[in-house]
């Protein structure tokens, strides 16, 4: 481990908002003049809320049991680990038999698998994808790079610790992890959910400000609302 090199200057500049995202006045095809504020128009600004547990533990247990048995994964291959998800979707490893399936859109998914390293550019998309997912939702960090940077530990463009930016429920070590290890991960996640320990959604809501601060510290061109679901 090398010590942090303080001598290398860091330019702490932010990137100006892109032209098309700035508020402006436009003329509609029928001749009307309207003011549009793209960032406000497209998104709801409400911050996430902590989802309380059911009043009766038995009800909460039932919920958790149900949640654990339908893990719907967002089919977003953020990094190289995505290649080992294909075999899971096909008969040889057949993850579907464990109640796991892939969905094309965040709206239908409740499990985000960060498949390996995240470049800053993808992190931005991953955050949006995560926020668009319906709670309770879970995050699995797949591969060593999500734990401590992995082999891209000295790269200028990849984050090192996923848990700084998203609430991670489970990590699977490997580079890359085999499909079997992923299946193990799903089983473990199910156990966590049933035990009521997979509370990433609420953790994200509780620590929303600090997550945002961390995200914004690496995403220089923050041109989206703070929360958009």
């Amino acid at each position: 481990m090398k010590d942090i090199d303080e001598t290398f200057r860091k330019i702490d500049a932010t990137v100006p908002l892109r032209e098309e995202l700035r508020p402006r006045t436009v003329t509609t095809p029928d001749g009307q003049e309207i003011t549009i504020e793209p960032l406000k128009d497209y998104f709801c600004e409400a911050a996430p809320k902590v989802h309380p547990k059911a009043y009766f533990q038995i009800v909460e247990n039932f919920y958790n049991w149900a949640r654990s048995n339908s893990l719907w994964i967002l089919g977003f291959g953020t990094g190289c680990g995505a290649i080992e998800m294909r075999p899971l979707m096909t008969p040889r490893f057949d993850a579907y038999r464990y109640g796991v399936q892939w969905r094309p859109t965040p709206r239908q998914a409740n499990l985000l698998i960060i498949s390996g390293y995240l470049s800053v550019k993808t992190l931005k998309r991953a955050i949006r994808a995560y926020e668009q997912m319906q709670g309770p939702k879970y995050v699995i960090g797949l591969g060593s790079c999500t734990i401590n940077g992995g082999m891209y530990w000295d790269s200028y463009n990849t984050i090192k610790r996923l848990d700084d930016y998203l609430p991670v429920d489970l990590y699977i070590a490997g580079c890359m992890p085999r499909p079997e290890a992923l299946l193990h991960g799903f089983i473990e996640l199910k156990k966590l959910i049933r035990a009521g320990k997979a509370e990433g959604t609420n953790r994200y809501a509780e620590n929303f400000a600090s997550y945002k601060a961390a995200q914004k510290s690496v995403i220089k061109d923050w041109d989206m609302p703070d929360y958009n679901w």
């Binding site: 060593s144 992995g150 990590y171 580079c175 992890p177 079997e180």
Partner: protein, 599 residues
């Protein structure tokens, strides 16, 4: 679009009859025999050299102390800890591992919700301990060289009739090849008594930066020319490369550096000593210990006078080690550098005769005693008194001095298995060759060949030169004819040389008796210090420890003005004497700086 094109795809419906290809139990599926899974480490074989850490491109490996693993010579006591938040399972660490202790299992599942849990010391409670399968390097250690580049040597025929140096030294190409093999783990540094910065100067050879190399050498050892030739190189036993292949030729590389820097350049590189402090120190004995202390003190601006009883400085390096191992001009160059630092060496000045201890004490701020082990021990077996029996050190000294009365009979017997025994045996063999055209020399030693105290090279070269080496022979009697002339040595076979506790305690077999012919018997079993120069009063005043002057770890004797170093107090080789010399110089500096020395 034909009907055929519409219908053909449906023919694959036949697949519904196929057996499903799903793996029924994917959780217990074994990975392949050579799978690169999580690491395993054999804690006992591992030496903590950190080469795995050096090669890891992910910075995934930390060397950490582990309970139960002690730091000792050749083993740092550290063990690799792997951060699986970094590892990429490339197995370069396994490939480079110097001992082969680090391997991989074929275990591949590690799931945890705590991101800090993925740090792991292989070999310490590894869950996959019993798994045999997993990646092991197939071709041995291929990422760093395993064979030493051979040292050019004179052939036995070329060297036996002269005292020319045997080793010719590395060429640049050979040296670079050899230096390239070093993995810079630094395990050797702790073993070197002088703690020379071995990996650094080897790096200098690799970079062909002999100036830097020389400066590094002189930081810890002013006798690089000497040590580069005749050091006992214990460092090479701690070399990480020794576990699978040859140790790095540290000694030859050291010599290579000095061989490549001319004398004047050396003085230039070392630079001028610090300005004079006005202090002065007397050193008795111009051997490696005394001269090292002299060098260090002179560098610090102390006026140093070295008193040497013999006509030339160097001590055992000159009068003990034969010229074919250490040419005199090599030694002279080392001493010249020391003298260039302003050290005065008064040769042929015997303390106790020409100058008295008390005078030295009066005229200097401190006195360092570095008198060495100049007196040879005798076996005192029957017949060993009288002419025809010589002590090795005396004889070597006379040969060096060019004494024409050195006896060179056609046949001779040497008793002893250390380097001194070989030095005299091989010197005598040369003299015999010169005088009679053939070698008639027998060397008997108590030890068996595996336990000879002498370097392995000595045995090999002795054999090559025609010295008859008889191991496991205990001397019983020097045989003499009625006229008193020595005729040979009677020995018994040695059945064992160590007792159960590993102490030296030879046991004999009387039935296996031999008589070795020889007109001269040379005893080379041990040496002792001649402390008579101290005088009775001082001898009485000093404290002693089992026959040697008692010193503390900082080389102080019980007298505040007197310090001691070298073989006489510690022993038994040049590099230890150098280390002592440094220590003594440091202590003396501290002492005179603080004005501790009370006259």
């Amino acid at each position: 679009m034909s009907l055929r094109e519409v219908l053909t795809p449906f023919s694959v419906w036949k697949r519904v009859l196929d057996a499903p290809v799903s793996i029924a139990d994917p959780f217990s599926r074994e990975a392949s025999e050579h799978y690169r899974g999580f690491h395993k480490n054999d804690m006992e074989t591992c030496i903590g050299c950190g080469t795995c850490e050096a090669i890891c491109q992910n910075g995934a490996i930390d060397m950490v102390p582990v309970e139960g693993q002690n730091t000792e010579k050749g083993d740092s006591g550290l063990r690799p800890m792997i951060d699986y938040g970094r590892c990429c399972w490339c197995a370069l660490c396994v490939d480079i591992c110097m001992t082969g202790s680090l391997t991989m299992s074929n275990e591949y599942t590690w799931v945890d919700s705590d991101p800090d849990a993925f740090r792991f010391i292989p070999g310490l409670n590894e869950p996959w301990k019993d798994k045999q399968a997993g990646y092991k390097r197939e071709n041995g250690r291929v990422l760093s060289g395993t064979t030493r580049s051979p040292m050019g040597e004179l052939h036995a025929n070329e060297r036996i009739d002269n005292f020319n140096e045997i080793c010719v030294g590395y060429t640049r190409e050979e040296a670079i090849l050899e230096a390239d093999r070093c993995v810079e783990c630094g395990l050797c540094v702790a073993t070197c008594p002088a703690h020379m910065s071995i990996p650094d100067y080897i790096a200098a050879v690799r970079d062909q930066d002999y100036d830097r190399g020389l400066q590094l050498l002189y930081e810890t050892n002013p006798f690089s020319e000497v040590c580069g030739r005749i050091c006992t190189h214990k460092c090479e036993t701690s070399c990480a490369a020794v576990h699978e292949g040859d140790a790095i030729a540290i000694r030859w590389l050291k010599r290579h550096i000095v061989d490549n820097v001319p004398l004047e350049r050396r003085v230039e590189l070392i630079g001028a000593p610090k300005p004079a402090t006005g202090k002065s120190v007397a050193i008795i004995g111009a051997g490696p210990g005394g001269l090292t202390a002299a060098y260090d003190l002179a560098r610090e601006g102390v006026k140093v006078t070295v008193y040497e009883a013999l006509p030339k400085p160097g001590g055992m390096m000159r009068y003990g080690i034969p010229e074919y191992r250490l040419p005199y001009d090599a030694l002279d160059r080392d001493i010249a550098v020391i003298e260039a630092m302003g050290v005065t060496i008064k040769c042929a000045t015997v303390v106790g005769v020409d100058v008295q201890m008390e005078d030295l004490r009066q005229s200097h701020d401190a006195v360092i005693l570095a008198i060495g082990l100049q007196m040879g021990r005798g076996t005192r077996i029957p017949g060993s008194e009288g002419a025809g029996v010589e002590r090795a050190v005396d004889l070597l000294r006379r040969i060096t001095a060019g004494d024409p009365t050195v006896p060179v009979p056609e046949t001779a017997v040497v008793i002893g298995g250390g380097n001194v025994a070989f030095d005299i045996a091989r010197s005598m063999a040369r003299l015999q060759k010169i005088k009679y055209g053939r070698v008639g020399l027998t060397l008997t030693a108590l030890e068996d060949r595996a336990h000879f105290l002498a370097d392995k090279e000595e045995l090999v070269e002795g054999d090559e030169e025609g010295v008859l080496i008889l191991d496991s022979r205990g001397p019983q009697e020097v045989m003499r004819d009625p006229s008193g002339q020595v005729t040979g040595l009677r020995t018994w076979a040695v059945t064992s040389i160590f007792d159960a506790e590993g102490r030296f305690a030879p046991a004999y077999d009387e039935s296996d008796e031999q008589i070795h012919q020889g007109a001269l018997v040379i005893e080379a079993i041990g040496q002792m210090a001649d402390t008579s120069l101290l005088g009775d009063a001082l001898t009485e005043k000093l404290e002693w420890n089992r026959g040697r002057i008692k010193i503390d770890s900082e080389m102080r004797t019980s007298e505040p003005w007197l310090f001691a170093a070298g073989d006489a107090v510690k022993g038994p080789d040049v590099i230890n004497a150098v280390a002592d010399g440094h220590r003594a110089a440091r202590t003396v500096m501290e002492a005179i700086a603080q004005g501790e020395v009370v006259q």
